[in-house]
């Protein structure tokens, strides 16, 4: 799994590529905690279009991250989910509790608006 954090137009973009499973979920959580400090300004968008595989361990990590941003009152959304990864998000009911968008642009627009 590769995870990069970058700033785009005052928002934080987290780009994830590869597998988010039982072996990498911890790393996913830690890298986001380090990469996005509590006082980071603007919205946070997690782009998972490069994620080919996610398991319940990965979902748990996403949930932990989402709960932290909610506590910090920071807008958080996930984008780029497709195929089986999207199905896993849907079956787990994550679409109801996490803001999800097809593309990064939509996510940013939604967070800004």
């Amino acid at each position: 799994m590769e995870l990069t954090v970058s700033k785009v137009d005052g928002a934080t973009i987290i780009e994830v590529v590869g597998r988010v499973d039982g072996a990498t979920a911890k790393e996913f959580e830690e890298k986001i905690t380090e990469g996005v400090p509590d006082d980071a300004p603007g919205a946070v968008v997690c782009d998972i279009s490069g994620v080919e595989y996610i398991s319940s361990a990965g979902l748990r990590a996403v949930l932990v991250v989402a709960k932290r941003f909610q506590k910090l009152k920071k807008p958080f959304s996930v984008c780029g989910h497709a195929g089986p990864v999207a199905e896993v998000f849907r079956i787990s009911g994550f679409e109801k509790i996490i803001s999800m968008h097809a593309t990064r642009e939509e996510a940013l627009a939604s967070a800004g608006g």
Binding site: G22, R60, L63, I97
Partner: protein
């Protein structure tokens, strides 16, 4: 028929990669499963990680799990087995609350929910001491739940003992059997010994019977001339000579018909007896230290007295307790290794039978959609369902 893939592995987080690689290799070798590769990967991981976290407590850190991938014409089947406490992930796992808000949403329970939601068919059973979950991806069929997976050879011996689950009934039967056996063998040994002891004593007592007969004949002959028993003085000489011929090994006595002593060797010991039948030796064991035999003295067809021969019984009597001890030792030595062996064999055989019955009872008392190949369990289940249609 394509080959099934077997993986026996310790449930530790470090071994997850090995599971991933194993599933990949199977999907590559079996093209119809490629369509389901994501689900096979996902549910293998979910089941494996569930085993990592829950299958074995800290008292069994070295327990294994067994994963099997079965090729099917239009898909694949995944079987997961562990030897943890009985747990049906299809029925007993708490479902996460999908309607809860983000802050209330609990973190657990997702994995097994994905297992239930993303497989096309699923069945759980407890086989012996194993939890066995079968998942189907594609149209199926669901693998038969007991015994049709060609398990690797190394676990065959394990399979023999897997069904062996001795419980109360087995132990009760074994205990009764062992007691009966021990009592039976001891009783048989004791009875045979008593018989042997009687023969030994009779043989020892009859040692000088030929001498007694010969003397009796001589005494009877001496009375033919018409003299009375009391007046035949040669009788005393006859007794003395006979006794000294055998070095004093026995004592002799002649009594008249009333039991009064007429002649005898000096230190005759031994009781008298009512007149024995003519021509027969009557043994007399009333004095434990002596063996005595009595014969009637006959004159003109009338019994006029008795001739008695007495010899020491100490030698034989002393050997009897020694023989008894020896016998007890032999019985114990021969029973000691036999009983445990018999107990183990019986527990093994009965334990298997009882284990199977216990499996049937579990099937009947109904842990969810137990798919059984056991006709009895199915029949009972059908009866149960017809009685309680709502259940």
């Amino acid at each position: 028929m394509e080959e099934a893939y077997h993986l026996r592995i310790k449930p530790t987080i470090e071994n997850l990669l090995q599971v991933v690689v194993w599933v990949e290799a199977f999907c590559e070798a079996h093209p119809p499963s490629a369509e389901y590769e994501y689900k096979l990967q996902l549910l293998s991981e979910e089941l494996f990680l569930n085993a990592v976290n829950h299958a074995y407590g800290p008292d069994r850190p070295d327990g294994d799990v067994w994963l099997t991938l079965l090729p099917q014409p239009e898909g694949a089947s995944l079987i997961m087995e562990d030897e943890g406490e009985p747990f049906d992930p299809l029925e007993e796992a708490p479902a996460p609350d999908l309607e809860a808000s983000l802050e209330d949403r609990d973190i657990g329970g997702l994995g097994l929910m994905l297992v239930r939601e993303m497989s096309d068919q699923a069945a759980y059973e407890r086989v012996g001491n194993r939890n066995r979950l079968a998942l189907v991806f594609g149209p199926g069929p669901l693998p038969k739940m007991s015994g049709d997976v060609d398990t690797p050879k190394r676990s065959r011996l394990h399979g023999i003992f897997r069904d062996c689950r001795p419980r109360g009934i087995t132990f009760r039967i074994v205990a009764i059997l062992l007691v009966l056996l021990a009592v039976g063998i001891s009783a048989a040994a004791g009875l045979n010994y008593l018989k042997f002891e009687r023969i030994l004593i009779e043989t020892a007592a009859a040692r000088y019977d030929p001498v007694l007969r010969e003397l009796n004949r001589v005494v009877n002959d001496s009375l033919r001339s018409g003299l009375t028993l009391e007046s035949t003085r040669t009788t005393q000489q006859l007794l003395d000579r006979s006794a000294s011929q055998f070095g004093g090994a026995f004592d002799l006595a002649v009594r008249n018909a009333n039991g009064a002593m007429l002649f005898g060797t000096e230190d005759f010991e031994g009781p008298s007896k009512p007149l024995p039948p003519q021509g027969e030796i009557v043994p007399d064991y009333s004095d434990p230290s002596r063996f005595v035999g009595h014969m009637s003295i006959v004159q003109n067809g009338v019994v006029v007295g008795t001739l008695s021969l007495s010899h020491g019984a100490e030698e034989v009597r002393e050997t009897i307790p020694v023989m008894e001890r020896e016998l007890r030792r032999v019985v114990v030595v021969s029973l000691a290794p036999l009983l445990p062996l018999l107990a183990i064999a019986t527990i093994f055989v009965l334990g298997r039978i009882e284990g199977r019955f216990h499996g049937r009872i579990l099937a009947v008392t109904g842990m969810g959609d137990f798919k059984s190949s056991d006709p009895l369990a199915e029949a009972i289940q059908q009866v149960e369902e017809s009685i309680n249609p709502g259940v």
